[in-house]
Amino acid sequence: MTTHGAHATDVLLRRSLRHIRRSPDTIITTAITPIVMLLLFVYVFGGAIHVGGGSYVSYLLPGILLVTVASGIAYTAFRLFTDVSGGIFERFSSMPITRSAFLWSHVVTSLVANLVSLVLVVVVALAMGFRSGAGVLAWLGVLGIMVLFTLALTWLAVIPGLTATSVDGVSGFSYPLIFLPFVSSTFVPTQGMPGPVRWFAEHQPVTSIVDTVRHLFAQQPVGNDGWVAVAWCVGVLLVAYVLAMRTYRSKVA
């Protein structure tokens, strides 16, 4: 990005962060679904789930963090949709500013909003008994993988944000992403699943990301999972970025 583009991105970023400050409910709503899941699984189903050593809340939290991001990006798509359908997008596009600044401001806003929601969820988990002896490096590792994951899903969310024709279409796309963790190692170990389901669970991105974060929290070696997780995030990020940019260009001539 040129300094020109950086300036416009900065101005537009401050604009959409102001939007979030004026409707903090979007952050709360984002955090509510994962927090309810956390409560439900720890206090209702948790007694019947055996995951080996350690508390269930510590086992569950990594997957719940992914659910948080998956529900958070629905607002990313919604904010984009609001701008595009309202006309302010055309105003920005016809102004002498770097055109990609508009998208970047929304992407960075999504990152900030999701990180705040993630902090909320971690605080609730701590209150419920989540403990980790992870050091600074391991926490940075968790942060890094969550940032990558958020960026990947954010660029994915840009596509419906730009193309949707109704609010329903915008928010609908994130539901499958919220349910993907159910068929993974998020809630129960994959060993108990029947053959094809287990194969899917072990080969979809959520399991490798969840296992990586779990190992980091538990101060265990991350092993191969770490690379697989990073590869998935970067892969989805690149594909989503290219598709989102292509959609964007077709939108602004």
């Binding site: 309202g86 006309g87 105003r91 102004m95 500013i97 602004v252």
Partner: protein, 260 residues
Amino acid sequence: MTTTPAILTTALTRSYDDQPVLRGIDLSVPSGTIFALLGSNGAGKTTVIRILSTLLKADGGTAVVNGYDVATHPARVRESISLTGQFAAIDEILTGRENLVLIAQLRRLEQPGRIADDLLARFALTDAGRRRAATYSGGMRRRLDIAMSLIGNPPVLFLDEPTSGLDPQSRIEVWKTVRELAGQGTTVLLTTQYLDEAEHLADRIAVLHEGRIIADGTLAELRQLFPPATVEYVEKQPTLEDIFLAIVGHDDAPTNDALT
């Protein structure tokens, strides 16, 4: 007034899914004038505006704005124009003042706060300036929208149906603003489906019908296309607009002097 037109299009064409919308548009808008593109819904008015403001590519033909070709120098064109689209392009979550400051900052102007306050005063929005734009009436939104377009004094202004959905008073306010702008040398291309708007406001009028310009000229020139006027004696009845403005006590009722 310079001799180079501010906007010049030749044989502009555009189709959507094999459905031709523009079938060869030739327009020449002299600098500093108000040009009205008149047409019914679906005539292609918005498509012309979108091509001229670099939001849409033409399939064929050329379009030059302020001396720059929209296809080859879109960034230069964007430095020369401002667009006020059909739907008020304002940020509803921000206040009126914040909307203006935002545009001034994006245009990298000095003292964005002062620019915003000046425009709020000019468009009678000072009291509303600290309220969120979502609470504004239709007329206030449109005024804010146009005020945002004036930031940075672009030489060419596109107004796409600037008065649709406005009450008569707001409509007259918009007309007044447009006249002032043209008086200061800004070239204004506006689209409208209201005949009286084109008649009251425009120096030149082009009639767009089914993707073609079927008439283009000053009001006097267009009048000559029709059979000579016959003299009839009729009682001059006030129009409903005259009555409305008289009873709501508006002091800026339209007079017929704009026609002479």
